[in-house]
């Protein structure tokens, strides 16, 4: 992805890039994607099992189950890992397939905000259940 005006430069793109250094990000994205993947590989079978066992339960039953720290804590870990992993994955999908620079940036911002909102909403809901009188 070339910056505006770069195309008109007489300098070779490699020469322009040299000396600027890396983005100092290293393997952070790759590592966090794997870390959240491992967390989700452990937590999502548990989450599916919990959902299945709650079929037919009343709201007060489900509420009481989630209010139990044995459920609330793994559930908090699950939703945080879930939205984090979703954000990292969607980011790469947008990077790979959206080649209009302004649209790519708009989508990255919107997607990141949406994932943050999803994670915050989930955490808020779990805390509301746990702290309910």
């Amino acid at each position: 992805m070339s910056a505006p005006g770069m195309d008109k430069s007489m300098r070779d793109p490699l020469a322009q890039a040299r000396g600027l250094g890396s983005a100092k990000d290293g393997v952070h994205h790759w590592w966090m994607q794997r870390l959240t993947a491992i967390a989700l590989a452990l937590l999502s079978p548990w989450f599916v099992w919990m959902l299945v066992s709650l079929i037919g339960a009343t709201q007060s039953d489900v509420h009481a189950t989630i209010a139990n720290p044995r459920y609330a804590l793994p559930l908090l870990a699950f939703v945080i890992a879930l939205f984090w992993h979703a954000k990292l994955g969607l980011q790469v999908v947008i990077e790979d397939y959206v080649h209009t620079r302004w649209l790519e940036v708009v989508l990255q911002v919107a997607m990141t905000f949406a994932c943050a909102l999803g994670a915050l909403t989930s955490v808020f809901a779990i805390l509301r259940i746990v702290l309910a009188p």
Partner: protein, 131 residues
């Protein structure tokens, strides 16, 4: 963007079909679908935290025929993405890079994803979900 006149590296249209390419793109497609499903999890939690009425509304919607079809889709996507994700973690450990291993682990993922999804729904039915 690359200058269009420059030669491009061979793309999928050049190659004969192999299961590996389908599994690779399916990993991304199921991942995007599951990212949408994550908002369903948030919705469910919010409904539980809100009130018995809000939870009943959610259950009605999830238990309707379109709701069940969507949930069946999410459950398949989760099983596929989970199993193929384990395949990715295997590669990250430096294993499974021989060509026959790609096919073997790939087909294992395909078969197990259907078996596990069927297992989830059999369990759900035995827990009182109606077909």
């Amino acid at each position: 963007m690359a200058t269009p006149e420059r030669p491009l590296s061979p793309f999928t249209t050049i190659y004969r079909w192999q299961i590996t390419m389908t599994l690779s793109i399916l990993h991304r497609i199921t991942g995007v679908i599951l990212a949408i499903g994550a908002f369903g999890v948030a919705w469910w939690l919010l409904a539980v935290s809100a009130s018995a009425q809000r939870y009943a509304q959610f259950v009605d919607l999830a238990g309707s025929m379109p709701g069940k079809i969507v949930l069946a889709g999410f459950s398949y996507c989760l099983m596929y993405h989970l199993l193929n994700g384990l395949r990715h973690l295997l590669w990250d450990s430096g294993r499974g890079f021989e060509i026959p291993q790609f096919y073997k682990t790939g087909w294992t993922v395909v078969v197990l994803s259907f078996v596990l999804t069927a297992g989830i729904w059999m369990l759900a039915l035995s827990h009182g979900a109606t077909a």
